[in-house]
């Protein structure tokens, strides 16, 4: 049921934000875990932030919850190389 709920409110944001992937800036991250705590599909965003790796995860809804809640501005949506290449 919970999953259904997420998908129901997901699509609008999804359409707006899907143009990239969550990309962390490790220098800003303090490993507080707010991102992971708020991710509706339980992706360990904090672990990505530690390693400085973008969230490339088939379950990611690009809902923006982690980006919006991070108190340090450590996360942002960035277009992937893949994406840019596809566009050009």
């Amino acid at each position: 049921m919970a999953i259904l709920g997420i998908f129901q409110r997901g699509p609008i944001k999804h359409a707006v934000l899907s143009s990239g992937q969550v990309t962390p800036d490790p220098a800003r991250c303090v490993q507080c875990g707010i991102c992971t705590y708020n991710c509706p599909v339980d992706i360990d965003v904090r672990a990505h932030a530690w390693r400085g790796e973008p969230v490339i995860h088939s379950h990611c809804l690009t809902c923006g919850e982690c980006v919006a809640r991070c108190p340090r501005g450590a996360l942002r949506f960035e277009k992937t190389d893949l994406f840019t290449r596809r566009e050009s």
Partner: protein, 432 residues
């Protein structure tokens, strides 16, 4: 080769990762005295406000530690016997080492006024402190917060969100005058008042009053007495240098280390909040109390301990924090004022911020969205971005990469400058 790390904080964890990146089998031992092990210390603030659960503060699962393949010893190191290469623990067998990292962090500077040891006088260093605060914070009761910098505000916000009436005492005329300018202090103070914090300027607590060993109030220098149920303080921090000092290592405000994070004993390194690191670019040794600096120093120390000579290159110190709910980024050198509420450095603070070189100031925005730039001859030396953070990332890059800003300098300094637009345009042209 046996490598031992004292302190289970972010510097220590980063050191283990660095060693393991070069040596997957060498013996590593970590000794830590915090019963809660490794957790996000800055995250304690969000635990206080209720934005997250305490369990969320632990970045690693036991599986992650297993992969790093080290032995963890719960205990407190009492002595370093340098000649014998041995650590003595308070409880438990001694531990020998070939290479040692001291990453024991810093602790809250004590409040040195009568009554400071009463029940209900609280600080925020560790998980245990946060739990104690939450246990004692009672809806409808009164708390007094003393001190400055980020931690004092985090205490204020935490206690407020637990339903307490909070009085925040400032010894001087404004909040965090060592880093913020007048306008920025006023913005933060205004927001605190809006959410119900009572501010008291030029209010210095000189005694904490108690009954049956429990806080009942505070006496101010001007003779006033304020009733309260608890006192929370954050007046700065002290690097934990005692171990190093006893062992005869070179110590100033922190443990002195060279650009390899090495102390004056070639087998002993120090990193993180406890280290006072030599910066070849300025010829000075400075303290930081920043999570990312601790991580970077720990990593560099680990590489050096594993035999890979690595110079720690200090990045431009910066911090993104929330001040009274307002996201604020502080980059580079920004302030120089005197701050009566802090002794030395505070949490989430860098000594480098206060080394204010010859700079011109450009600013825009007088409400919640504000930018202040410190302009050198050719370079941007520092910036404070409050509220809207669109400029924070470009500004950080412009400062840290020493970008030549002469093309926009004059425009930035013109009285009607729209700093946001100028920087955004400049940034876009840089990226193309």
């Amino acid at each position: 080769m046996k490598r031992v790390i004292v302190g289970a904080g972010v510097a220590g964890i980063a050191a283990i990762e660095a060693i393991r990146s070069l040596d997957s089998i060498g013996e590593i031992v970590m000794v830590g005295d915090d019963p809660h092990g490794y957790y996000s210390r800055p995250g304690l603030a969000y635990y206080l406000t209720g934005e997250l659960h305490d369990k969320t503060l632990y970045p690693r699962a036991s599986e992650d530690y297993r992969k790093l393949n080290f032995r963890y010893v719960k205990g407190r190191v009492k002595n370093i016997l340098r000649d014998a290469h041995v650590l003595e623990l308070e409880n438990g067998p001694s531990i020998s080492y070939d290479k040692l990292l001291i990453a024991v962090g810093a602790q809250a500077a004590p409040l040195e006024i009568p009554g400071a040891t009463l029940d209900g006088v609280l600080k925020l260093d560790h998980m245990e402190d946060a739990k104690r605060i939450l246990k004692q914070a009672r809806r409808g009761k009164t708390a007094i917060v003393v001190g400055g910098g980020i931690t004092a505000l985090e205490l204020t916000e935490g206690l407020l969100s637990r339903g307490m009436n909070v009085h925040y005492l400032l010894r001087g005329d404004r909040y965090w005058s060592g880093v913020l300018d007048d306008q920025e202090s006023r913005i933060v103070e205004g927001r605190l008042q809006e959410v119900g914090v009572t501010l008291h300027h030029r209010a210095e607590a000189i005694e904490i009053l108690g009954r049956k060993n429990r806080v009942i109030g505070v006496r101010l220098r001007d003779g006033r007495v304020m009733k309260c149920d608890l006192v929370a303080y954050a007046i700065g921090i002290h690097p934990r240098v005692e171990l190093a000092r006893q062992a005869g290592l070179a110590v100033d405000r922190g443990i002195l280390v060279n650009e390899h994070l090495q102390t004056n004993d070639v087998n002993i390194f120090a990193a993180g909040d406890v280290a006072q690191v030599y910066d070849p670019s300025t010829g000075r040794s400075a303290l930081d109390s920043l999570w990312s600096s601790a991580r970077e120093q720990g990593y560099a120390a680990g590489l050096n301990m594993a035999g890979k000579a690595t110079v720690y290159v200090k990045s431009i110190p910066f911090n993104v924090t929330r001040l009274a709910g307002l996201t604020t980024t502080i980059i580079g050198a920004v302030g120089a004022g005197d701050d009566k509420d802090l002794v030395g450095i505070a949490r989430g603070d860098s000594e480098t911020w206060r080394q204010l070189p010859d700079a011109m100031v450009a600013q825009s925005g007088f409400d919640v969205n504000r930018v202040r730039l410190l302009l050198g001859e050719k370079r941007l030396l520092g910036a404070v971005v409050m509220g809207d953070q669109k400029l924070s990332y470009p500004l950080e890059k412009i400062v840290s990469e020493s970008v030549d800003i002469s093309p926009i300098r004059e425009e930035l300094l013109s009285p009607q400058a729209r700093i946001g637009d100028v920087i955004a345009k400049f940034w876009a042209s840089m990226r193309n």
